[in-house]
């Protein structure tokens, strides 16, 4: 493990330490994995409101007369469908169809797109986009200019509304507005990685500690707690949101991952389109499917999966589900074996343990 000194730190690092967070090396970043405890933080987000420092996430901005053409080239979803103020989940693929990253594309203006990317992928994402830029567009590595805080949970909107004049109820899911939070300019996106309602705000790093403290105060009456990457993972898994390096990576295409809805083959050429069109014609060979453990044991990432006693796939993410009180996971299985309700086994520390495939998401909030 790298020493803390060589790890990258967000502008909120000293805040986390002062709060007594347990810090871990997360893809080269010194990040809080938990404060009060993963279970407590998880339930706080499901039932009230939690706040997360996600400043390690990367930002890449594309501007210029042909900004849209570049975005359409690099991303699988149809950015041309975006209206100003709208956000789109999309795939950044290699030519062979595997994921370079999963991204969220914000349309700021006709000639300006703001892309949020994964922390540990941001450098290669930037290089990958720059390499494809044969358009009248500029690609700007903007991560140093932004801190990012996620406010998530049923009381997120009430919490954040105390700190902004932006009309938060008017922002639809996967839309954003540029306004101010605590008097500092902020991009306010209504989205998240928890399966709950909530917001992700982008602010100047120099303002992060002050804004963090004001959000904490504003949310206190609703039971707000700071939450770490541990709860972020259990929350996103229950909501079946993909995590790069687990459900998706360079060897996995969006069609494998059940993300055909972010692939718009009809939009024209984009990087990876040829490979995906071929895969669609042949049909996918594997499928991402959810399971619950029925025997005693917790599936963990990378554990082998058996069908009818034979090796058939692997666990991409596995964990106790605090909301369901069960042990759950996602795995890849051959498509012909990936029916819901099928008995499977997960090899837990050399012992096969019974499980059953189930419909996903594991958790869906009541709207």
């Amino acid at each position: 493990m790298a020493s803390a000194a060589s790890l990258k730190a967000t502008p909120l690092n000293s805040v986390h330490r002062a709060l007594g967070a347990r810090m871990v090396d997360f893809g080269g970043w010194d990040m809080p994995v938990q404060y009060s405890g993963i279970l407590d933080e998880h339930h706080t987000v499901r039932n009230a409101v939690g706040m997360f420092d996600v400043s390690h996430m990367g930002e890449i901005e594309i501007r210029g007369r042909e900004a849209l053409r570049l975005v359409e080239q690099i991303a699988t979803n149809a950015a041309s469908n975006l209206k100003i103020g709208q956000i789109q989940y999309s795939g950044l693929l290699y030519e062979h169809g595997g994921f370079c990253d999963d991204i969220s594309v914000h349309k700021v203006a006709d000639d300006h797109y703001f892309i949020c990317v994964n922390a540990s992928n941001q450098d290669k994402d930037y290089e990958h986009i720059v390499q494809q830029n044969r358009f009248d567009a500029t690609v700007d590595f903007a991560s140093p200019r932004y801190a990012q805080i996620a406010i998530q949970g049923p009381r997120a909107i009430e919490t954040l509304q105390k700190l902004t004049t932006a009309d938060l109820p008017a922002i639809q899911y996967y839309w954003f507005t540029d306004g101010a939070v605590c008097g500092t300019p902020a991009r306010i996106s209504r989205m998240g990685y928890t399966g709950e309602d909530g917001f992700e705000i982008y602010i100047a790093p120099s303002e992060a500690a002050r804004v963090w403290a004001e959000i904490a105060s504003a949310g206190a009456e609703f039971g707000l707690k700071p939450c770490g990457l541990g709860a972020r993972n259990t929350l996103r898994l229950e909501a079946k949101m993909a995590l790069y390096g687990h459900e998706i990576d360079a060897t996995i295409t969006p069609l494998d991952a059940g993300l055909a809805w972010i692939v718009k083959l009809a939009k024209g050429d984009f990087t990876g389109r040829g490979a995906l069109a071929k895969q669609k014609e042949k049909g996918v060979s594997r499928k991402l499917i959810g399971f619950e453990m029925t025997g005693r044991g917790i599936a963990r990432d990378g554990y082998p999966v058996l069908v009818d006693g034979s090796p058939a796939g692997w666990v991409t993410s596995g964990s106790p589900s605090p909301t369901l009180g069960k042990n759950i996971g996602l795995c890849y299985l051959p498509v012909e074996q990936a029916a819901i309700g099928r008995a499977i086994q997960v090899i837990v520390r050399e012992q096969p343990v019974d499980a059953v495939t189930v419909a996903t998401p594991f958790y869906k909030r009541a709207r």
């Binding site: 993963i38 259990t234 917790i298 963990r300 964990s319 106790p320 605090p322 520390r349």
Partner: protein, 127 residues
């Protein structure tokens, strides 16, 4: 924090010797490092365990961790309550949430283990 009547391992287990029996558990430091404990896998009564060898495992929400036996001998009792209430390991790791009792085959084993003050220094240096 660390009771004087326990002996401690570098892997963060403890043993309390009562006559020919060693009562085994994990330390406060271990439960704190693990976080919310959700699953404990222990040997059955009658199993032979050996000092420094895996005795079982404990899992938090985030991770799985091996438990190494601080002593050698035969398991004479298992704390079954932990299978339904593993969170007791977070609440009372040096007391109610003991893991197993072992009839010691080599009582001299404990000279290899740390005293409370040595362990306190050890975890202080580690963190």
């Amino acid at each position: 924090m660390y009771p004087e009547d326990l002996r401690y391992t570098k892997e963060h287990e403890w043993v309390r010797v009562e006559g020919d029996t060693g009562i085994v558990g994990i330390t406060h430091h271990a439960q704190e490092a693990l976080g919310d404990i959700v699953y404990v896998d222990l040997p059955k009564v009658g199993a032979q365990v050996e000092q420094g060898k895996p005795l079982g495992s404990v899992e938090s929400v985030k991770a799985v961790s091996d438990i190494y036996s601080p002593v050698s001998g035969e398991v004479t009792a298992v704390n079954d309550e932990l299978s339904t209430a593993p969170e007791k390991l977070n609440a009372d790791p040096h007391g109610e949430a003991w893991l197993v009792k072992v009839r010691l085959s080599a009582p001299g084993d404990i000279v290899n283990l740390m005293s409370a003050s040595e362990y306190q220094t050890y975890v202080g240096a580690e963190s």
